[in-house]
């Protein structure tokens, strides 16, 4: 901005306030200073061209356009640019045609939308938690072999051969001698809880049906020669999968019913991948097949791999937060090492998590771990991305429920280890863990009604354990307590002295695993 421009602005000012003319020098300095504060935006012409090419290149480049349409109209193989890859599956032809068409840029609802519905619209929520709101933070294999009491232990050789997604690992593959069980109690040491909200909003993820309708609409135009799909009415897609037919290509799965998208490696196109499986440390594998701590890339490197993959495939991660490495496995790995467990293992796949936040609050799974977009990276295979998980549509309905306003009640549940109670074995030693001032989060929980399930997001308080016990017999780093009043019931009809039996996980260390809840005494619930 030149002095001339500033004087012009000042001249306009003087018309409104003539006395300002007496302070012209000072005014000019201030306006100049303000204008000069405009930062250099470093606009890059190369960026301008790249984005234009990505958005419009296919329409504006005549040669590519003719090539595409000639091939398409002649019924030949369809070739089009998707990172230089070729997608050949028959189903992709009409689909690609449609996606090539600007009018069919599908918007499935990956931007967050929350719509309010009436109070209590999701029914009674007690059953949603299954009587438990504990957050177990991974370490499944270790939990099976070390944390659980002896009768619950099982041989689990297969676990070591199954590659987990950065949350498993740690423990050994073979059954060990069960250590003495440790009872856990909690003591809250944080600030006084001031709960003033009379109601809290529970969210429910809604399936809009857009994905089913739009895919169905496109595919419904196909006449295969053997069958004319256009003769069918109101077609809706159920599940769709596409595969990149190229070296190191990926599969893309659309779970249309659940409105989720998953990517993973198209195994048939990854040469020699089975030759590069990390061996368990106690097996008779060559030294080169084992993973050691020095083999784990730096966090920045893993994040860079994930970021680049997401960028290259134009995966929309706008709703997710800054990436972080899931290091849940590490605690169990170190504990196993401390105990000279020869089977202490480093997972072959590391997981980069882009955490999901709704209404500014982080979302946790009911049984541990943050919800979000996960990118798996195989550190044994040149840090190649193994898959992308957690891409889900983000339409929610919101319903108010009466909130627990008594902070002491919330603390009482936190100190008993959550709504479901904590592990209590009746003997052995007891360790008291201190809980810090909580943060507000959502806990994702499933409510089952007949054959249908609802995905609920329950406002909760997350109490972090100040210091985990050194012996590692306890795996939960957090206790979550729901703020919904009707969910705050002890599973044993108020008998707080009797805690529920410990939960254990089934299957290998792969994520996600299924948690088998222990049987609880019969209780009367509506």
């Amino acid at each position: 901005m030149t002095d001339k421009d500033i004087k012009k602005i000042l001249k306009d000012l003087y018309k409104l306030e003539p006395s300002l003319a007496d302070r012209e020098v000072e005014l000019m300095e201030i306006i100049k200073e303000f204008a000069l504060a405009r930062p250099d935006t470093k606009f890059d012409k190369k960026f301008q061209n790249e984005i234009k090419n990505k958005l419009l290149g296919r329409f504006l480049e005549t040669d590519r356009k003719i090539y595409f349409w000639q091939n398409f109209m002649n019924g030949k193989k369809l070739f089009f640019g998707f990172g230089g890859a070729i997608i050949l599956i028959l189903i992709a032809v009409p689909l690609a045609y449609s996606m090539y068409s600007k009018n069919s840029n599908f918007n499935f609802g990956f931007e967050q939308r929350v719509k309010s519905v009436g109070d209590g619209a999701f029914g009674n929520l007690w059953g949603a938690s299954g009587g438990s709101n504990n957050l177990g933070m991974g370490g499944e294999e270790y939990a099976q072999t070390s944390a659980a009491p002896a009768p619950m232990m099982a041989e689990n050789d297969a676990a070591a051969e199954t590659r987990s997604l950065g949350v498993g690992g740690g423990g050994g593959s073979k059954a060990m001698i069960a250590p003495e069980a440790t009872n856990i109690t909690f003591k809250y040491i944080g600030e006084k809880l001031d709960l003033s909200q009379e109601k809290v909003s529970v969210l429910k993820r809604e399936r809009t049906g857009e994905m089913a309708k739009k895919f169905g609409g496109v595919l419904g135009n196909i006449n295969t020669g053997m069958l004319n799909l256009s003769k069918f009415k109101n077609l809706e897609a159920q599940n769709i999968s596409l595969s990149e037919n190229r070296d190191n290509g990926y599969n893309i799965y659309f779970d249309v019913g659940n409105e989720t998208i998953t990517l993973n490696q198209n195994w048939s196109k990854w040469a020699g991948i089975y030759d590069r499986v990390a061996c368990p440390p106690d097996s008779a594998c060559p030294e080169s097949s084992r993973l050691e701590e020095k083999d784990i890339p730096a966090d920045e490197a893993l994040i860079s791999v994930a970021d680049n993959f997401i960028k290259n495939y134009s995966i929309n991660k706008n709703i997710y937060g800054a990436p972080e490495i899931d290091k849940t496995w590490r605690r169990y790995y170190l504990l196993a090492k401390e105990q000279n467990d020869a089977a202490a293992s480093i997972p072959q796949e590391m997981s980069v998590l882009y955490p999901l936040a709704i209404n500014g609050k982080q979302v946790y799974e009911q049984y541990g771990g943050k919800v979000g977009l996960r990118v798996g990276i195989d550190i044994k295979n040149n840090n190649k991305v193994t898959g992308v998980y957690g891409l889900e549509t983000q339409s929610y309905s919101s319903s108010d429920y009466a909130a627990e306003m008594n902070g002491e009640t919330i603390i009482k549940f936190a100190e008993q280890g959550g709504v479901g109670g904590s592990y209590y074995y009746g003997g052995g030693k007891t360790v008291t863990l201190e809980l810090m001032t909580p943060q507000a989060i959502y806990v994702r929980q499933w409510k089952y009604s007949g054959m249908e399930s609802s995905e609920l997001f329950v406002p909760s308080l997350l109490f972090k354990v100040k210091e985990m016990p050194k012996d590692g017999y306890y795996s939960n780093e957090y206790i979550a307590v729901p703020l919904v009043k009707e969910m705050l019931r002890s599973p044993q009809n108020g008998d707080d002295d009797i805690k529920s039996m410990p939960a254990t996980r089934s299957g290998s260390g792969s994520s996600p695993s299924v948690l088998i809840e222990p049987a609880l005494p019969e209780k009367s619930v509506e």
């Binding site: 602005i9 306009d12 000012l13 018309k15 409104l16 306030e17 300002l20 000072e26 005014l27 201030i30 306006i31 303000f34 204008a35 504060a37 405009r38 930062p39 250099d40 935006t41 470093k42 606009f43 890059d44 960026f47 301008q48 984005i51 234009k52 990505k54 958005l55 419009l56 329409f59 504006l60 356009k65 349409w69 398409f72 109209m73 045609y97 068409s101 600007k102 009018n103 840029n105 918007n107 931007e111 967050q112 135009n221 929309n316 706008n318 709703i319 997710y320 937060g321 800054a322 955490p355 936040a357 500014g360 982080q362 943060q439």
Partner: protein, 187 residues
Amino acid sequence: MIDADKIHGQEEELAKEFGKIYDQYIKKIYNFVYYKTHHKETAEDLASVTFAKAWERFNTFDQKKGFVSAWLYKIARNTVIDHYRAQKFEYDVDDVWDLSGNEDIPLDTETKLKLEEVRKHIKFLNSSERDILIMRVWQELSYKEIAEILGKSEASCKMAFSRALARLKKRIPLAAVIAFFLFSSLD
């Protein structure tokens, strides 16, 4: 049966039209996003998302009903808000000015240092008021365009700004007076 030639011909026309708009506005939109993020890579990401959204919806945009510039700015503004709200802040963040400075957010160092003084004053405005300041002074948009972008009337924009001035006046009296007259005189 799908008439592919016809559909593609229409799309090509739309693409050409959108291409012109893109060339005309990409720098302005990028700059606007940069003023609200202070980070080149983030601004590039969000500007590209803005135009991707605009392209997706371009066939439904009626240029007779409003400025294309206002439409693009509105998408950009919402994209920036979505970007910050999707992150795990414990308070409402609409753009980089709302941050306390202690967050682990990438910022261009040069810009951060240059805006340190300005930041002290305008961080007390709400995001709409800050946008008015940025768009009017740094981007030289008319009040009419600003009002359309923010989805308000020109009068309500002035009202909002005058309320902000009342707060600013206590902090930087002279600057507030100047800003008031700047905005009043630029209608």
